[in-house]
């Protein structure tokens, strides 16, 4: 569905960019982009979402070059959930979710009953319908993140890019968001690419992984094959125990100690 081929992006001297990165997000897939802080995950996500033009290489969605598609048309196909959303004004939850309808409306068009129905359905899907009349800034971190996901859902895009969706949340909310994403992928067929540094989130949620370090892909493929002691060491310079966790039902990673960087 969404493909990046040999994409490069350079911020400036001394800053990590992207160097010949190729990623394939298949339709209906759940892809994790895994890497330490500063590895270029967010940059890659912005390039994939068409918010940042790649210096070289191609990014295509269903075979079409991203830069050939208007901002509005792109927003009907790709929705983005940022790590954290701060609003400078006191919008209600419903208003925030309705903002997702932007690419479906003309310049002077107001949201119809249908748009409101879609927004409320998105709220229901994320378990936040009860909050619809609350003011967004008064919500807790986990509630905010679910409302922002609802806003992305209301965009009715087939593909959702999420940047560290759980990084700012406590473990309770982390589990909640992870299961929400899994459900949206399974029940609604929403294709997802999730950038994260959280090995266990990725292990539990994603079917494919792309490991990114210093702007380069060091491994990619099905989670079971990619997530190994060796790859974790290569990615984080950490000696870790990687084993299958019966109760969780997926691989888990327990970091043991830091090892010195090879260079």
């Amino acid at each position: 569905m969404l493909q990046a081929a040999d994409v490069s992006f350079v911020y400036g001297p001394g800053q990590a960019g992207l160097h010949g990165v190729s990623v394939d997000v298949p339709g209906g897939g759940l892809v994790g982009i895994l890497g330490p802080n500063g590895s270029g995950k967010t940059t890659l996500l912005r390039v994939l979402g068409g918010m940042l033009p790649a210096a070289s290489g191609r990014v295509t969605i269903d075979g079409r070059d991203l830069w050939r598609i208007s901002r509005r048309d792109l927003a009907r196909q790709i929705a983005v959930v940022p790590q954290e959303t701060r609003l400078s004004f006191e919008y209600s939850v419903l208003e925030v979710v309705l903002m997702g309808r932007y690419p479906h409306l003309g310049a002077f068009e107001l949201e119809s009953q249908d748009d409101v129905a879609i927004a409320r359905e998105a709220l229901a899907a994320t378990g936040t319908l009860a909050l619809e009349h609350r003011l967004f800034p008064t919500l807790s971190g986990g509630e905010k993140q679910r409302v922002v996901i609802a806003s992305a859902l209301a965009q009715s895009a087939g593909l959702m890019l999420l940047d560290e969706p759980t990084a700012a949340l406590d473990p309770g909310y982390q589990v909640e968001i992870a299961s929400l994403l899994r459900r949206l992928n399974a029940e609604r067929g929403v294709t997802m690419a999730i950038a994260t540094h959280d090995l266990n989130l990725a292990a539990g949620l994603c079917r494919q992984l792309v490991l990114l370090r210093e702007g380069r892909v060091i491994a990619s493929g099905p989670t079971d094959q990619v997530l190994t002691r060796e790859s974790v060491r290569a990615l984080y310079d950490v000696e870790a125990d990687v084993h299958y966790h019966e109760a969780a039902g997926h691989l888990t990673v327990v970091p043991l100690r830091r090892i010195r960087a090879r260079d």
Binding site: R46, G49, M51, R71, R72, L74, A75, R76, I78, A79, V80, P82, T85, R86, L87, S88, F89, E90, Y91, S92, E95, M99, G100, Y102, P103, L105, A107, F108, L110, E111, Q113, S151, Q155, L161
Partner: protein, 333 residues
């Protein structure tokens, strides 16, 4: 209530308020006049002092107040959304400092830019405002990737300080009565004396308002941040440019007409948000209309409180606005 009804009723309510203020304002003033005599066609206008007070003094003042109030309140809304900062004002980015520098130069040096019935000071201040806008925009786009709101804010604040120092420098060289007149100009004054300056400011303001009509939905999304807005289909750079230039144009026209009347651009949008919520499709038209009504009423107070003298209207709005601003800060903190 559906959004359509909300927009309709809000515009209706605030529109009635603005119309009521504009109808009421010319009827009151320091001198008692008879409305019957004002509209008495049998007395020639040249001999009809009541009609002259009405049509030469009060009506232009009222219209100027409505135009300045509407422009400053609307620009306040747009700048707050553009900068994602509810404490931003139309003057945050240096537009008023540029206008003040222009006015100061016109007051101090014997230059004449008078054109089409508009005297030198308004034209010079408008030129100064446009100059400041150009400098701020150039600074904020020096680096790649469009318009950085942080750079915009810093450039505006720096330019404000720099222009203020230039103003002080020129004031130091100027004579005391010129300095005094500049200080008075800075207080804001709506005694425009004729319709010419209003008509001159009108096309710029209308152009800005025409752009404003396109903006509200995009402004809503802009307050989410540039990336989030972009991801929802907003052409962020274009929206930022349109917002910046239209709001600057409206501010420049308003300031050249009535001086930098303070606090309108922050009091009005906040009061309106308290009443109708945050959606810019409601806030922007409501603030425009409420801004007009608010300044018209302030001007009535300014010209009647210490009659026959006139209080500069900017002093009045600042006396209301200062405490209001503090209350906002405390409330938000």
């Amino acid at each position: 209530m559906s959004l359509r009804r909300r927009v309709f009723f809000t515009v209706l309510l605030f529109g009635l308020m603005a119309v009521a203020a504009c109808v009421f304002a010319p009827m009151v003033g320091s001198a008692p006049i008879s409305l019957r005599r004002v509209f008495d066609r049998s007395v020639p206008f040249a001999d009809n002092a009541d009609a002259q007070i009405f049509f030469i003094s009060r009506l232009p003042r009222t219209l100027a107040a409505a135009l300045v109030g509407a422009a400053l309140a609307a620009s306040g809304v747009v700048f707050q959304a553009l900068l994602r900062n509810p404490l931003a004002t139309p003057f945050t980015l240096g537009v008023s400092a540029g206008a003040a520098l222009g006015a100061m130069l016109a007051i101090t040096f014997p230059i004449s830019l008078a054109f089409a019935g508009v005297s030198t000071v308004p034209i010079a201040s408008f030129a100064g405002a446009l100059g400041a806008v150009g400098v701020v925009y150039a600074l904020s786009t020096v680096r790649r990737h469009g318009l950085s709101t942080n750079v915009l804010l810093l450039a505006g604040i720096t330019l404000n300080a720099f222009f203020s120092s230039l103003i002080l420098f020129i004031q130091y060289l100027a004579d005391f009565s010129q300095t005094m007149r500049t200080v008075r100009w800075l207080m804001g004054d709506l005694d425009v004396g004729s319709y010419a300056p209003i008509l001159a400011a009108l096309p710029f303001t209308l152009l800005a308002f025409a752009v404003f009509a396109w903006l509200p939905r995009s402004l809503n999304l802009l307050t989410l941040g540039a990336d989030a807005a972009s991801a929802r289909g907003v052409d962020v750079l274009r929206t930022q440019r349109l917002a910046f230039f239209s709001a600057s144009l409206a501010t420049g026209a308003a300031v050249s007409l009535g001086g930098p009347v303070g606090f309108i651009g922050i009091i009005v949008p906040h009061l309106v948000r308290l009443l109708v919520g945050a959606d810019h499709r409601v806030v922007l038209p409501a603030s425009t209309l409420f801004g007009a009504a608010f300044l018209v009423v302030c001007d009535v107070a300014a010209r009647t409180l210490i009659a026959p003298m006139v209080l500069p209207v900017g002093i009045l709005t600042a006396m209301i606005g200062g405490p209001f601003f503090l209350w906002l800060l405390i409330r938000r903190g």
